[in-house]
């Protein structure tokens, strides 16, 4: 339905543009010698420039009003608060500059629209002004750089420690696996050369000669205990992928032939974030949309969509081939006890290959 309406709208707009051009062409005084803007044009176009400024503002306000709720909820990781603060600070600055500069640009376009009778003001230079607008951005940017680098170092400095648990994220066309280090908290060596061992049961290529690997646990779902630092080691077996966990403000590429790292501490369990008011209203909205879509599907004799329940996801965010758009893994953040009991129900590598 929307499709049909939109197409009709499109056709109408195209036709009206066409008609408009025709009318304008006909209404043009035949005697006009040139195609250079005259005072009349300057008047019209100047006013339109001012209207365009208003259009930009309205578009901005409308977008925030209408789509403000599609943005990600508050961060669910320890460093995420730092990230969000920096983001909002930067946004505030950007908005301020955007509002002022667009206003000046378009207002001047309107205010100084040309008239035959006028002459422009001959102004080639003003060192003081130029110094001002070189120095102010420099100071603001210096502030942002310092704040940014401080956070960056904080996020990216990863120290192996007793308290942290190590998890491998293993990427392949087109799915994810997680590998837990087991009791020894050390991941065994691994390489793609071992993938075909044990009739393909060696899912992430663990090196059987490394004793650290025997108690490793390979899973299809990523479970994380809340409040504990997780050190992720990323690997890929084929092409580049990127492990993107937007709710945790976390992302790192997975590079074949290399192990990359990222670490964060989840601070909200899946249960907790489902109670977040923003998430509740977002889920409600999504379910309304899914319901509407389901009605259409049922009419066509297809299966309706399941209702949606919020879950954290791990998303692939580096183009990796035909199913790049559907390369995902569910993330469950839970209490330490739940995590322990889940993990103890999984098979270790040595059990699995038996």
């Amino acid at each position: 339905m929307t499709l049909l309406l939109s197409l009709i709208l499109l056709i109408l707009v195209t036709i009206s543009i066409w008609q408009l051009t025709k009318i304008l062409e006909l209404s043009q005084p035949k005697k006009e010698e040139t195609q250079v803007a005259n005072d009349q044009d300057n008047q019209t176009q100047g006013v339109l420039l001012f209207a365009f400024l208003i259009f930009i503002y309205i578009l901005t306000i409308f977008s925030f009003w209408r789509w403000g709720d599609v943005l990600l909820p508050e961060a669910s990781s320890d460093h995420g608060a730092l990230y969000d603060n920096l983001m909002w600070l930067t946004f505030a600055i950007i908005f301020f500059v955007q509002t002022i500069t667009q206003a000046l640009l378009h207002y001047f376009g309107y205010k100084y629209r040309g008239k035959k009778s006028r002459k422009a003001y001959f102004l080639a230079d003003n060192d003081r002004l130029e110094a001002v607008w070189t120095i102010i951005p420099t100071i603001v940017l210096a502030g942002l750089i310092l704040y940014g680098l401080y956070t960056w170092t904080d996020i990216m400095t990863i120290e192996e420690n007793e308290d942290a648990i190590v998890v491998e994220l293993y990427a392949q066309q087109f799915n994810w696996k997680a590998r837990y280090a087991g009791k020894d908290n050390v991941l065994g060596d691994a390489n793609v050369r071992f993938l075909q061992d044990f009739e393909g049961k060696n899912l992430v290529g663990i090196d059987i000669t490394d004793p650290n690997g025997l108690d490793d646990i390979v899973t299809q779902e990523l479970h994380l205990p809340v409040g504990k630092e997780i050190i992720f080691k990323m690997r890929s077996q084929d092409v580049l992928h990127s492990a993107y966990m937007p709710h945790f403000r976390a992302q790192m590429n997975c590079v074949p032939g290399m192990i990359t790292e990222f670490a964060f501490t989840p601070i909200k369990t899946t249960e907790e974030i489902r109670m977040d008011p923003d998430v509740i209203s977002k889920v409600r909205k999504i379910n309304e949309i899914r319901k509407r879509n389901s009605e259409e599907l049922i009419l066509n004799g297809e299966e309706p969509l399941d209702p949606y329940v919020f879950d954290y996801v791990l998303i692939c965010n580096k183009i990796c081939g035909v199913s790049h758009y559907n390369m995902q893994m569910k993330i469950v953040v839970e209490t330490q006890e739940d995590f322990n009991s889940w993990l103890s129900n999984q098979q270790t590598f040595s059990q699995f290959i038996q």
Binding site: L3, V13, T14, I17, T21, L24, Q28, E33, T34, Q35, A37, D41, N42, G46, L49, I56, L59, S63, V70, L71, L86, T90, I94, Q98, L105, F108, Y112, K115, R118, A120, Y121, F122, L123, A124, D125, E130, P137, L144, G148, L149, W152, I155, Q237, D238, V239, L240, Y244, P246, Q251, V255, G257, M258, K282, Y308, I315, I319, V322, H324, Y325, N326
Partner: protein, 596 residues
């Protein structure tokens, strides 16, 4: 056209022999004809690129809805009118490649550097007409190869315009990485050869062939922009060429520059010790400067068009030149901001954050200077002028989000999302496209001896300007919601279901924008044949190209080339009745030449 050209032959000076149709229109060595060839090839590729974006926007707005005409258009790649995911990836790849390289590098820079460098510095032609002709024909061949790659059995390259290996290196990884990718690489290699020849020619011409009195500090900002752009190209394009050659070796000769430890389609490959990160470094060593190669000429055009139509000097000429130079220098040391989370050492990320945010300073200076140029002007709001003003607007809107993406911390969560797509389309794609349009409207009379219709120009402008924001502004929200780019559809994640209506709105704006380009196309073609005849200096401009006769002939000026006595921006100078004083008018007694 031809009758006007003929009678100029006898007055023609210099190295002239009779021109045949072939030497005049096809294998021409005249920079003006080569400029037109670049423009028309560029526009042709542009329409292909834009059409592709409209097709994949349909898929994004109405995922997997059947469109009958898609089956007609794409055949087996859109069974029952539903586009195949591989084809989606191929379309964005070729769209990106065409727009960045073929339209906004060759089409924009090639057209206006060729047209304006000799005419604005007062030279009879480029330093080497022959090389110039070669560079156009290499560009033509590379366009042809890229177009042919669309018809390869397994489909064209589909690894994104950044063609990161291993995806681009292994035909097992996706169908587009077979013959399609080979053609892509060959086409780009030829393209790079063409760009290098052209750039060398531009640099040599600007250095050696300026007319008497045209000191570097009197050069119009257009020429400064083209000159510096050519230098950036010479520095960075060879690095892309080496990346392409190494990738060809990995693909065809079994070397391991970029590949290591790969298991694909049930098979362990033999590659050892290479790294895709190396490719990313090489690619972005060109890739980042490339965005300045795209935008600087557009800014140069804007400087000229704004000053001329504001009837006012460009504000802060020296600061403008300084910021072009600063941007050029900094642009070669910021490439790592595309790689913050590539696995490269985080400390390196800090350095690149620092250099990247530095580049915001000269960019800000340019924007402020443009705005001040309008202040107390007497603005002649021609279509070219409107496009230039809109360029400043999108350059600011898109540039500001660069402060987010350039900050390694903030990049973590928006990297490779639609936020990036919104950012680079505004700051580079749309801005440079506006620069191209501004240039076409402004110099059309110089190229085709006729004028484009201004009312059609206004319609083209307003529809495009509104739709450009309508398309790319809402995209920021999709990106901030966490939606990755290069996704065939977002329906695989219920979490993105609420983005559906934004996607529909974006696509509607995109389709209208596409329709508006047909108005431009009509105006362009119609005006070439039936436009109003132009006078010699229709915009009352100061630069030298308008002192050359309307009719074209090899050599540009009859008799002596004009000498230059002042900078290009004496608009509304006190002491003169007219509001412009062309560069070839000597200073009056006691008149001071500003600035120099």
């Amino acid at each position: 056209m031809s009758n006007e050209l003929d009678h100029t032959h006898d007055e023609d000076h210099g190295h002239h022999h009779k021109e045949t149709f072939i030497t005049k229109y096809i294998f021409s060595q005249d920079h003006k004809m080569i400029a037109k060839q670049y423009l028309i090839t560029g526009l042709f590729m542009g329409f292909i690129g834009i059409a592709m974006s409209l097709i994949f926007r349909l898929q994004l707005a109405w995922p997997e809805k059947p469109f009958g005409f898609l089956e007609l258009l794409l055949g087996k790649w859109a069974p029952d009118g539903v586009m195949d995911p591989n084809v989606y990836l191929a379309l964005i790849t070729i769209h990106g490649t065409i727009m960045v390289f073929f339209v906004l590098t060759a089409g924009l820079s090639g057209t206006f550097s060729n047209l304006l460098i000799p005419l604005q510095i007062g030279a009879r032609d480029m330093a080497s007409g022959l090389l110039n002709m070669f560079s156009y024909w290499l560009f033509f061949i590379s366009s042809l190869i890229m177009t042919i790659s669309l018809f390869v059995e397994a489909g064209p390259a589909a690894a994104g315009w950044t063609v990161y290996p291993p995806l681009s290196a292994l035909p097992q990884a996706q169908p587009g990485s077979g013959a399609g990718m080979t053609l892509w690489l060959v086409s780009m290699a030829v393209f790079i050869a063409s760009s290098l020849l052209a750039a060398l020619n531009y640099v040599v011409t600007v250095i050696n062939l300026r007319t008497k009195g045209m000191t570097m500090s009197r050069l119009p900002l257009t020429i400064w922009a083209f000159f510096v752009t050519a230098i950036i190209g010479i520095v960075s394009f060879p690095v892309l060429l080496s990346a392409a050659l190494l990738l060809i070796m990995d693909r065809s000769f079994g070397t391991s520059f970029f590949l290591s430890d790969i298991f694909i389609q049930g098979e362990v490959l033999h590659y050892q010790g290479g790294s895709p990160v190396l490719f990313e470094h090489l690619f972005w060593f060109l890739g980042h400067p490339e965005v300045y190669i795209v935008i600087l000429p557009a800014l140069g055009i804007t400087s000229e068009v704004l000053a001329t139509n504001a009837r006012k000097p460009i504000f802060g000429y020296r600061a403008m030149v300084a910021s072009i130079l600063a941007i050029a220098f900094l642009s070669t040391i910021v490439w790592g901001h595309h790689m913050f989370i590539s696995g490269m050492n985080p400390f390196l990320g800090s350095v690149f954050t620092f250099t990247t945010l530095l580049i915001a300073i000269p960019s800000a200076v340019k924007a402020f200077n443009y705005i001040t140029t309008l202040w107390k002007g007497n603005l002649q709001l021609n279509p070219a002028m409107l496009f230039s003003i809109a360029l400043v607007s999108t350059f600011i809107s898109g540039g500001l989000t660069g402060v987010i993406l350039g900050d390694s911390t903030l990049d973590i969560n928006v990297h490779d999302t639609y936020f990036v797509v919104a950012h680079f389309h505004l700051v580079m794609g749309i801005s440079a496209l506006y620069g191209l349009f501004a240039g076409v409207y402004h110099w059309f009379p110089k190229m085709f001896k006729r004028m484009m219709n201004k009312n059609l120009g206004y319609i083209h402008f307003w529809v495009t300007a509104i739709c450009a924001y309508g398309v790319f502004f809402p995209m920021h929200f999709i990106g901030m919601a966490g939606l990755p780019r290069r996704y065939y559809t977002n329906t695989a994640f219920p979490i993105f279901d609420d983005l559906a209506d934004i996607n529909v709105i974006i696509t509607i704006f995109a389709l209208i924008a596409g329709a508006a380009q047909l108005v431009f196309l009509y105006n362009f073609i119609h005006s070439i044949f039936y436009g109003k005849k132009t006078v010699q200096n229709p915009w009352n401009s100061n630069t030298l190209e308008w002192t050359a006769p309307i009719e074209h002939f090899h050599g540009n000026w009859h008799g002596e080339i004009p000498h230059v006595h002042r900078w290009a921006y004496d608009y509304s100078k006190p002491g003169y009745d007219k509001d412009f004083v062309p560069q070839n008018i000597p200073l009056k007694k006691g008149e001071e030449e500003l600035q120099h």
